[in-house]
């Protein structure tokens, strides 16, 4: 083999190694996030499947908007949006609506706790704000920062809507499940209050009933 051919072969080795290394990094990140979700679900069995369903609806919403966000980043943020609940006292991990004021304050720390946990991985920097702000409301009355309108990162607005829809249509122990149609109607009513009106419009136009099919899809998204 001449020096020129050898050099070409060597460049090919570099390209292949780079591709292997890249896919290894992506796989390791995805596995790490999956492990975090599993850990949360071990501590809070009633939320099993919630993270994956929120990721499912978030990605559908992003698709319908013409993919303004990197789907990989959005999926990651949606999967671990509640990971900060691991930092709450055990008795509060599964609570969606805390009755005592002190408990409510603690539960409302979970987006910040999750963001600070994820900040240990610098590669996640792009989408960590989406986790931190997924409980902001369009009208500015959410938490932790009280951001309003387009001050709220788009990723957070998407996750917030998907999160609320999943909460509404599932039985998490403290509230009964509603029908899918009822969930969509409820989301529609919150346009301009909890949610970005434009996102609500896109969500309402999604073939939600068709995507739902039946409860089996929950298993498919796991």
């Amino acid at each position: 083999m001449g020096e020129g051919d050898l050099y070409k072969q060597q460049l090919l080795e570099y390209a292949q190694d780079l591709a292997r290394a890249y896919s290894q990094i992506r796989r390791t990140q995805a596995e790490f996030l999956g492990a975090l979700v599993s850990l949360l679900e071990m501590k809070a069995p009633t939320v099993r499947g919630h993270a994956r369903r929120v990721a499912f609806w978030s990605l559908r919403l992003n698709d319908s908007l013409g993919k303004p966000l990197d789907p990989g980043a959005l999926q990651a943020a949606a999967l671990v949006h509640d990971v900060g609940k691991l930092g709450l006292p055990d008795r509060l991990i599964e609570s969606w609506v805390a009755s005592k004021e002190d408990d409510r304050r603690l539960v409302q720390m979970h987006p910040e706790l999750g963001a600070s946990l994820l900040e240990h991985v610098s590669a996640f920097a792009e989408w960590i704000p989406w986790v931190r702000h997924h409980h902001e409301r369009w009208d500015g009355t959410g938490y932790p920062a009280g951001l309003a309108g387009e001050e709220i990162p788009l990723g957070s607005r998407i996750i917030s809507l998907a999160n609320a829809f999943d909460y509404y249509v599932h039985d998490y122990g403290d509230t009964p499940a509603h029908t899918v149609g009822g969930g969509v109607a409820w989301i529609e009513k919150q346009a301009g209050g909890s949610f970005d009106p434009e996102l609500v419009r896109a969500f309402v136009e999604l073939p939600v009933e068709a995507l739902w099919v039946n409860r089996l899809w929950i298993e498919e998204t796991r």
Binding site: E3, L6, Y7, Q9, Q10, L12, E13, Y14, Q16, D17
Partner: protein, 124 residues
Amino acid sequence: MKVLVIEDEPDMAALLAATLEPAGYQLRMERSGDEVERILAEFDPQVAIVDVMLFGSQADGYEVVRRIRATAGHENTLVVILTALVGAEYEKRALEAGANIYMGKPFSPLALLEQLRQAEIITD
């Protein structure tokens, strides 16, 4: 960790630098091993990566490796022979000359980094 690279082919040397520098290795690149004793004294590397066919040099890579081994303080330096001469015969010659690792070209950059990482764990 300091790595001495003796490679006469500029493109290959550039690829080696592109592999090793981002991984945090401190490099010294040389095109010839004729003065390897002086280079060892100046740079004192923990690793040497040596090409076999060094055009324009008196000493070939095997000779360079033997001289590294004969230099006080470098009896245990990790030596990698990186060569286009591929085959069991050449591997045997490389190891007999005193190399720890033989790699044929084209080599996998990740495999090279992995070998160095493992050597680092052993010496730690």
